[in-house]
Amino acid sequence: MFSKRMILVAVVIVLIAVNIILLTITSKHSQTPSGLGRGALVVVSPFQKQFNNFVQSVKGIWNQYFYLVFTAKENQRLKKALAKSMRQLNRCAESELANDRLRHLLGFEEEVPWPMIAARVVGKDPSPWSKTVIVDKGTEDGVRQGAPVVIPEGIAGVVVEASHRYAKVLLLIDPNSAVDALVQQTRARGIVKGGGADYCVFNYVLRKHEIGVGDTVVSSGLDGVFPKGLRVGRIAEIVRLNAGIFQKVSVTPYVDFEILEEVFIISKPAFESLPEEP
């Protein structure tokens, strides 16, 4: 009655229907029926976990490595940027300081009635036995031998040698330098000579003159080199000997020779700048 072919088709249809029904039923429940799912979990999950760990660690190494490379690159870039900023900051700070110094010098230049040439210290004598500096202005700029060198704080020295573009300045503290000076308050006169270290000695001050520690010593203008009234230093120590007609006086210069960077060279001879007699 039924052919074999018809029976096969009917079985297939029934199986499809049963399958659809089962799917419909299972889709209604959230939990997996019986312990099939749990068994699978127990068997597969440890492998999954290990594999996942492995993948994660590889991924982690991969990511971290590239991250580190990136970080290293970024670090380098940031370091460069920081160094650049530091350089700029340092340049700004230097400019600011130079600006302050130059303003100070400019103010001094306006105050002083003599023509002056601004110069920069470019070298220092390495020998401890002579206190000289080299400045970047020479005869080409109007610097002459014997010209006084000053800064706003006071007398710095005298030009002892000048080439076309450079000049050698003998500092006030060199034992070979001497300035005819007087004490501002009492007008006691003497010769200020370099002491070699950072001090000067004030020679030939008569014992009869009353001078005190802290008094200001200024140039007298009588040496024909330094104009009158330039500050030299302040009296640091006085020794009145029992014998002799002079006192032993030591003077601390107003100029800090360790940080001398810019100076003014008075280009006009001092005797020309002395006030004329009425």
């Binding site: 070298g123 004598d125 390495p126 020998s127 036995w129 002579s130 003998l170 060199d174 070979n176 070699g196």
Partner: protein, 174 residues
């Protein structure tokens, strides 16, 4: 080439000690002293004398001390070292530093003597001892290392010269 090297070293030392080391304490010695010892040990008079004369004149020109004192010191260091190496084995680890120290001490004494005795306005004699002893000590500690630098520099220059000459010869033969 070697003359260029010597001139460069002199120039560098002079610039270095007049600009970079301007603020250092007084007991730092003249770095050209060990260089003169090096010239005395390793260079013949016709090579060394022009260099030491130039260095001496440059230092005297820059310095505010008695003119000619550096030139004198360098010349006598050179002569002294040439004399000493006739009977001293200067390759010795002890003798070479000793020679450098003696050179630094000699120069220090000559310059100090000129400042304390010869200068128109002299320094107090008491200051001589402390400055000279400090300079000699520093010279003894650092001078031999400087000397080694000079020797190493000379070797580098010699090698470069040899390779240039070899290359020239090779090109000529081809």
């Amino acid at each position: 080439m070697i003359t260029g090297y010597h001139l460069l070293v002199c120039l560098f030392l002079i610039i270095f000690q007049t600009t970079m080391m301007a603020g250092v304490p007084a007991y730092l010695y003249d770095l050209l002293g060990p260089f003169m010892v090096y010239l005395g040990v390793h260079r013949r008079p016709r090579e060394a004398i022009p260099i030491l004369a130039l260095a001496g004149l440059a230092m005297d020109g820059i310095s505010g001390g008695v003119f000619g004192v550096h030139l004198t010191a360098y010349l006598w260091i050179y002569v002294g070292v040439r004399w000493a190496i006739q009977f001293l084995h200067v390759g010795n680890v002890i003798l070479l530093p000793l020679l450098v120290t003696a050179g630094v001490a000699f120069e220090s004494l000559v310059v100090a003597f000129s400042a304390v005795v010869l200068a128109s306005s002299t320094w107090p004699v008491g200051s001589m001892l402390s400055v000279v002893s400090g300079q000699v000590l520093w010279g003894a500690l650092t001078g031999p290392f400087l000397m080694l630098f000079f020797i190493r520099g000379q070797r580098v220059v010699d090698r470069a010269r040899t390779s240039v000459l070899t290359e020239k010869d090779t090109l000529r033969t081809h």
